[in-house]
């Protein structure tokens, strides 16, 4: 067991490998570090690659997303990789109608469909296409449909038999099952006479027919914006305050610390919810709400570091030599603070993205049609029984991104200073 701890860290003696590391350039240092830090190096390496990939996707979503995230590109609730079914037109055997192009113009022709199927979309798309054809050829008149929606395919076919509807549009597999029950009806082929490729979607479609993958990719952009903006804002406010409080001390320090501790001790999400609710729904307000949460973290760390550094000999020396406070702060204390702050920043971004997703999951802050991971998760709950892919992938995306940033922070902690205390 004694061998588990490597060279017991005696503050007076610098280990050989560290000496070696100091002697080479940055790149070599990074690669050589792998030998010394082992698995931790891998943690940081893998997570940096993930973070870089994520950032590229977030900044250039249009390169990666094949569809517009707000547009209906397919039938609703299509599962990943599933091909939409072919819709056919079903007409009476002895009738004169063979296609939608045979419908009388400018009259609303009753067409029966089953609810919750893409049949109605297919029928209307075809009607629009024919109307456009007519207009392009210089003619007048529109093909108009009166869609009659039924709970089951059988009821839809019944209404055609009864003469209430001129035709029905249903999926070909559904009609195959029911052909025997409806001898007076026949299929007249695909609803659309234009050639169409049926496409599947790698992660499926959501409840309004939007491509889940494209929404995920565009959601990355929102996550990055929120995460980075909030973290930078916290940084910009928290670090100077911490420096000031640690350096000046006294009443300012005590007052500030009291306020910061109050915020820090209070459940963060609830504070963010309250702020977001007050300010109203907008992305800027979300950023403000999250930024407020993390200011105390920066403040405390920086203040602690400042208090420590203040007591160092070289600072006292500088002071006795007549250096101004600004100089001491900037040149001596601030550089000591940077390593810890850098690590916190990466973990902070992760937390900010997590909190942001939580806020939009609860319905606060972002306009509901934004392609955002939290919003997609919230909407997906309703379909938990029928469409598992709606909640699985957005959550996975959040997890991977947060994991990447957190792992990077974790690994950096171990590498920079194994003794660094975490909060």
């Amino acid at each position: 067991m004694a061998t588990e701890l490597e060279s017991p860290p005696d503050p007076g003696q610098v280990p050989q490998w560290e000496l070696e590391l100091q002697q080479v350039g940055l790149v070599r240092r990074m690669l050589r570090a792998r030998r010394w830090h082992g698995t931790d190096w891998w943690f940081v390496a893998i997570s940096s690659v993930m973070v870089a990939a994520f950032l590229v996707i977030a900044v250039f979503p249009q390169w990666f997303a094949s569809h517009d995230p707000l547009e209906q590109v397919g039938p609703r609730l299509l599962s990943p990789g599933e091909l939409p079914e072919q819709e056919i037109l079903v007409v009476p055997v002895d009738g004169s109608i063979a296609a939608i192009s045979d419908f009388e113009l400018d009259v609303r022709t009753p067409v029966a469909v089953a609810q919750d199927t893409p049949s109605s979309d297919a029928a209307r798309d075809e009607a629009d296409r024919i109307t456009d054809e007519i207009a392009a050829a210089g003619g007048e008149g529109r093909v108009r449909l009166r869609i009659a929606r039924f709970e089951t395919v059988g009821e839809a076919l019944d209404s055609v038999v009864a003469g209430d509807a001129v035709a029905a549009v249903i999926s070909s597999t559904a009609f195959d099952d029911l052909t025997a029950d409806f001898p007076t009806l026949q299929s007249s082929g695909a609803v659309s006479s234009a050639a169409q490729d049926a496409t599947s979607f790698p992660l499926g479609t959501n409840q309004v027919g939007q491509d889940v993958l494209s929404r995920l990719i565009w959601g990355a952009r929102i996550a990055v914006i929120i995460g980075f903006s909030a973290s930078i804002a916290s940084f910009v406010v928290g670090v100077p305050l911490g420096l000031l409080a640690g350096f000046i001390g006294g009443k300012t320090d005590r007052a500030l610390t009291l306020i910061m501790d109050s915020i820090y001790a209070f459940p963060g999400l609830i504070l963010a919810i309250a702020i977001a609710a007050v300010l109203g729904p907008s992305i800027f307000n979300i950023i403000v709400a999250i930024a407020v949460l993390y200011i105390p973290t920066y403040y405390r760390i920086v203040r602690g570091q400042t208090l420590q550094s203040k007591e160092e000999l070289y600072v006292e020396a500088a002071r006795s030599l007549g250096a101004k406070s600004k100089v001491i702060l900037g040149r001596y204390i601030f550089p000591n603070v940077i390593p810890s702050v850098a690590v916190i920043f990466s973990v902070n971004v992760a937390d900010a993205i997590l909190t942001g997703a939580g806020l939009s999951f609860l319905g606060l802050g972002l306009p509901p049609s934004t392609p955002d991971w939290g919003i997609d998760l919230a909407r997906g709950q309703e379909f938990i029984r029928s469409a598992w892919w709606l909640i699985t992938f957005p959550g996975l995306a959040v997890m991977l991104v947060v994991l990447a940033f957190t792992m990077m922070g974790e690994g950096l902690v171990e590498i920079f200073n194994p003794k660094l205390r975490e909060r």
């Binding site: 707000l70 209906q72 199927t117 109605s120 869609i147 109203g280």
Partner: protein
């Protein structure tokens, strides 16, 4: 140190406990208690054999997500209020369960109109006794009904129901003779008997409801003249009803107990009915959940003919872009209701082409006749006439609430925006605003060009779908806030025919002539584009095998619930 071992033991104990509980409970029958039994219930996989119900008291558990807003009849507002209210208290007259057109006597006879149409008289039945034994007298009845006419009382009430249904139509309510109540109207109103069938027109217990004080949440047991007594209320959770032994009306209770269990979300209720924890799921289930439950073999899912509507309020105030009738008409022409229904709801909602839903007297399809929407050619024409072009697009602010009408509202708004923008001449700015401020901002014409709103009737008549939007100077309270405190919105140039036709149809007693007038009124409404009707919301009732309604009444397959959404628990019975 021992702490590690202790922790380990505690954790292991808890995990073991939980696992044991899970293992045992998963075989549980949903009905575990001997005193409450329901129809034999089948859980979904794994299937268990149906239990035989021992001979015992029959209880039905109804699940709902409706909230009780007030249990004072002078203040009944929400659907839950009306539902419970008409069970504990028997109304003067009522609609036959399952219909919204056949009136039948309640504690009083059918209303008889006077010759000049300015008053209605009803005659009280004899032998009416409250659930605690108190006998009803005529003066008692008139006094309790006059709580609706008491302006001070209504002002202190949260919902001002009396303002809407009584004070605005009636001059007074008085006792005549031994057992007759007369309602004196301010002006002729042929549909007033239908208003009398509403839940607030009940005679409530005088000891519980004082003449000048609103009692929102009375103590239990709560007695009335109706077939049920409320024996227990756990607010926002559970209401328990038991039969009233003194009831002498047409719809006595058939079971021994009804528990109304409130759920906070529709999905929780859907799961409860799926698992057999409740017998009936009613109100606000949603199309998706209803669809998923259709495939469960032990459940019946029925759609109630629709009554609540969604529509767009259009801002007619001067200075707003929609004050221009050409713009309004273009918007009406560019809407594709079928696409809205299919894309956003999977076809579960029915497109609506008139402010009055189909099935009501005089309803037509005025908007379809006028615009043949989606008609982008017409829309572009109108907009170009109004002076808009590719370089000078119409800028529109479209407001909507985030979750009051369900989360699908946002999807619907997105579709509508895309439809309007497809004309190439409109830029839509969708604005989401929390419900708390939304309604007044929407209806007072100072915040949005267009905004989404819903409507459910106060009484089942075309009047109630038109009057709130047309009144007085041409636009009713729902389109323009009448109060000085609402701001300086001014409207000019609304077609005077609107108000004229409204008054004419109201005074008309012959149904055919009235229908013709209503048709004309809807046509003018569409030309003026007072509001843009969008769709009808379906409502679903789901119940387990073994629960039945009354087959001698209309629509037993929906447990005798008609288009007015009145659910009378007395029709329910448990078989098998």
């Amino acid at each position: 140190m021992k702490s590690k071992k202790t922790w380990w033991r505690v954790v292991a104990l808890l995990v073991a406990l939980a696992l044991i509980a899970a293992a045992c409970s998963s075989d549980d029958e949903p009905t575990g208690d001997a005193t409450t039994t329901t129809a034999p219930s089948a859980t979904t996989a794994p299937t268990t054999p149906a239990t035989t119900t021992p001979a015992g008291p029959k209880t039905i558990i109804i699940g709902t997500t409706d909230v009780i807003s007030s249990l004072d009849p002078a203040d009944y507002y929400s659907t839950a209020d009306w539902e419970l209210g008409r069970l504990v208290n028997e109304p003067l007259v009522r609609f036959q369960p399952g219909s919204n057109s056949v009136l039948e006597p309640g504690i009083a006879s059918l209303p008889v109109a006077s010759a000049d149409g300015l008053s209605y008289e009803v005659t009280l039945r004899d032998g009416l006794v409250f659930g605690d034994g108190l006998e009803l007298t005529l003066d008692m009845a008139v006094e309790q009904l006059n709580r609706l006419m008491n302006a001070d009382l209504q002002a202190s009430a949260p919902n001002q129901v009396g303002d809407v249904l009584a004070i605005s139509y009636l001059e007074s309510i008085e006792a005549v003779g031994d057992n007759t109540i007369r309602f004196n109207l301010l002006g002729p109103a042929g549909f007033y008997p239908q208003i009398l069938a509403g839940a607030p027109f009940v005679v409530s217990h005088p000891d519980v409801y004082a003449a000048n004080e609103i009692n929102l949440l009375p103590d239990t047991p709560l007695y009335g003249l109706g077939p049920w007594i409320i024996t227990d209320i756990t607010p926002a959770e559970q209401t328990v009803l038991e039969p009233n032994p003194f009831y002498t009306g047409t719809y006595p209770a058939k079971v021994d107990q009804v528990i109304v269990q409130r759920f906070s979300t529709p999905s929780a209720m859907a799961d409860a009915v799926r698992e057999g924890e409740i017998d009936i799921a009613w109100r606000l289930l949603g199309a998706q959940a209803a669809d998923e439950l259709r495939s469960v073999s032990s459940l019946t899912v029925e759609t109630i003919p629709q009554a609540p509507i969604r529509y767009l309020i259009v801002n007619h105030s001067d200075g707003w872009v929609t004050a221009d009738p050409l713009v309004r008409q273009a918007l009406a022409a560019a809407i594709d209701r079928d696409e809205l229904s299919d894309v956003v709801f999977g076809g579960a909602v029915t497109p609506l082409y008139s402010p009055v839903p189909p099935g009501f007297l005089g309803a037509n399809e005025a908007f379809e006749d006028a615009y043949q929407a989606p008609n982008n050619t017409l829309a572009v024409d109108l907009l170009t006439q109004a002076g808009y072009s590719e370089s000078n697009k119409l800028q529109l602010d479209l407001g909507y609430p985030p979750e009051h009408y369900g989360v699908t509202t946002a999807d619907g708004v997105l579709q509508i925006s895309q439809q309007w923008e497809a004309t190439g001449l409109i830029d839509v700015n969708a604005i989401v605003q929390d419900w708390a401020t939304y309604v007044s901002d929407c209806t007072n014409g100072v915040a949005f060009d267009v905004c989404v709103l819903g409507w459910f009737f106060d009484f089942p008549d075309a009047e109630n779908y038109l009057q709130p939007f047309i009144e007085g100077d041409g636009l009713g309270t729902m389109v323009l806030c009448p109060s000085e405190s609402c701001g300086d919105a001014v409207t000019t140039g609304t077609d005077p025919q609107l108000n004229q036709l409204l008054l004419e149809q109201r005074a008309e007693t012959d149904p055919d002539r009235r229908a013709a007038l209503l048709g004309d009124l809807q046509d003018v409404y569409a030309a003026e584009v007072v509001t843009i009707p969008l769709w009808l919301e379906p409502e679903f009732i789901i119940y387990r095998d073994g629960i039945v309604g009354d087959s001698s009444l209309p629509s037993p397959e929906t447990l005798n619930i008609g288009p007015d959404f009145e659910f009378i628990y007395s029709v329910l019975d448990v078989v098998g």
